[in-house]
Amino acid sequence: MAQIIIPSALRAFTHQQAKLEAAGNTVGELLNDLAKRFPELRRHLFDEQGRLRKFVNVFVGDEEIRSLQNEDTPVRTSDAVSIVPSVAGG
């Protein structure tokens, strides 16, 4: 199982756990596994159509998945997957 690193902002939905293991062969499968186990997390990751929200960035190692194969990006068990929410303001 690959490791997912949860940002501080979303730990309220993972019982304050910063690192979790999730099952799946792609980023999408991993995130869906996570959302199944932590249902309140789902709406912060995915929109109503089930797509990854635009302000949720996911890195496999050092590579952002939008420069790879988006949610179909393959993940190995040795990979660390980081969720990085976009931070902005006015």
């Binding site: 940002p7 902002a9 990085v84 929410p85 976009s86 931070v87 902005a88 303001g89």
Partner: protein, 144 residues
């Protein structure tokens, strides 16, 4: 609603103020690193970030790759990301409507340190956090 408190050393606050004044007329931005305890928030370190907004005089946006590196540095230092800071070169004290909209949309419930700058000089520094649903910014007592 109980008032939350946070500590930030006067040296760290002064450094962020210098950064905000130097960035004017653009907004500066960065991360707040530290920890949350039963007594409140302790901001132990700041981490300056590049503002990659297309309109940096009106807003700020982090570079996500730089953010990832900052997260890793924080973890290596045994610190957590407890919030972020940015400046308002238009002298607005406290969160802007855009800040509120984005904080609600992104469930950004960390600390927001906001520095108001007028004519290149600091006029206000205040700390806020989104609380409740859908969320309103509530001031956090800043002990510098």
């Amino acid at each position: 609603m109980k008032t939350e408190r946070a500590t930030l050393s006067s040296e760290l606050l002064a450094a962020v103020v210098r950064e905000a004044e130097a960035a004017c007329p653009h907004e500066c931005c960065g991360l707040l690193l530290g920890q949350r305890t039963a007594e409140g928030w302790q901001i132990a370190r700041t981490y300056a970030m590049r503002n990659v907004s297309a309109k940096p005089e009106l807003g700020f946006e982090f570079d996500t790759r730089e953010q990832l590196h900052a997260y890793r540095e924080a973890e290596a230092a045994g610190l957590e990301i407890v919030g972020h800071y940015h400046s308002h070169p238009n002298a607005r004290a406290g969160p802007s409507p855009t800040d509120l909209q984005i904080a609600r949309e992104r469930y950004d419930r960390g600390l927001w340190l906001i520095l108001a700058i007028a004519h290149g000089k600091i006029i206000d520094a205040s700390l806020w956090r989104l609380r409740g649903e859908p969320g309103e910014f509530v001031r956090v007592q800043l002990d510098a």
